[in-house]
Symmetry: C2
Subunit: 207 residues, 2 copies
């Protein structure tokens, strides 16, 4: 927004891009959303950003590193959505269900992105520490909410992390089944979510 005013600006695209890393990431995300993970090719990304095919390697070690960055961004967004749902919902019982819905909505609205985060596209062993941290952060949002509910004696006093994992597995399961087309009938995901939360509460609420 504040370019230096020296000299005549050239209509020609400059050699250096400015913020190529960001642009590549955005384009990768858009491509994944539009054509799926398989549709992502480094050459196409470069072309669409208006840069040569290998420019990407100045910002990402390889294709997997790009996908890892995409996954990191996904976990960041997810955490943000979860926290927003929890806080906007009043940090209470209903807000907890809101979080669950937000989680599944994120997955269903961004299936390919979600798959990059969980589908084993990133190195299973020797995981990127930043990715691990960001994933942990999203999970922590769930743990925090549960801890608050436990404090208010709304939920059982079991090990918080264990309870959180239980809830996480449930919403993650619903989300992935929905994404993979195992729940085809329209409204099936919503119906399942409603039932799941009803039964979940019976299972983990303080009696």
């Amino acid at each position: 927004m504040t370019p230096s005013t020296r000299g005549a600006r050239k209509p020609r695209r400059p050699y250096h891009h400015g913020n190529l890393r960001r642009a590549l990431l955005d384009e990768a995300l858009a491509t994944i959303r539009a054509e799926g993970v398989d549709g992502l090719t480094l050459r196409a990304i470069g072309a669409r950003v208006g840069v040569s095919r290998t420019a990407l390697y100045r910002h990402f070690a390889d294709k997997r590193a790009l996908l890892t960055a995409v996954a990191i961004e996904g976990f960041r967004t997810l955490r943000q959505q979860l926290v927003t749902a929890w806080e906007a919902g009043g940090r209470g019982d209903a807000a907890f269900q809101s979080m669950g819905l937000a989680y599944v909505r994120f997955a269903v609205a961004n299936p390919s992105h979600y798959r990059v985060m969980f589908g084993g596209f990133v190195d299973p062993k020797a995981r990127d520490p930043e990715l691990a941290a960001e994933a942990e952060g999203a999970f922590q949002a769930l743990v925090d909410a549960l801890a608050a509910l436990q404090r208010d004696a709304v939920m059982r006093g079991d090990d918080t992390v264990l309870m959180a994992r239980y809830v996480w597995a449930l919403v993650h399961g619903v989300a992935t089944l929905g994404i993979d087309g195992q729940l085809r009938e329209p409204g099936a995901v919503e119906e399942l979510m409603r039932y799941a939360f009803e039964r979940l509460r019976t299972g983990i609420a303080a009696n």
Copy 2:
């Protein structure tokens, strides 16, 4: 290398293989297990079976078709394991938990295979009808068990399919989280499964 068919390696490797389709499938499965889905190349499969790279195309339309066949086989095996656990466990309350354990064990023991079944490697739309049928069959094992428990008034009388989907989502969630390395600590999967079933029962048991 002699392209001649008189190699002494096996009893006669004639021009025609005999049951190439089966052999290709088995080799594909072994490769996937050993090197992951990404490590699967048609050329390597052919070479390892002792056949040329394109022989595969007489038995599978393309790579996706091969993966679909792998997924079909996976669902068949999974259903079998589930049914076995249910029946061997006495078709009762404990047997139901056995089924859940068998499910997660299958996934954790065959992570790559499980990913082929659920990871979006097969066509999301226009799914192979045989694949859909086989997946439905595995799910049906769960539905049947639940229905039996409902008949014996062990479980709530809710819509059986809905309940089954709930349970499915839960075990599927635990399984995929475990596979993707989100539950790293040794024993975390087992601990979660134990807790999950305890809470699940509280949620869906007949009061």
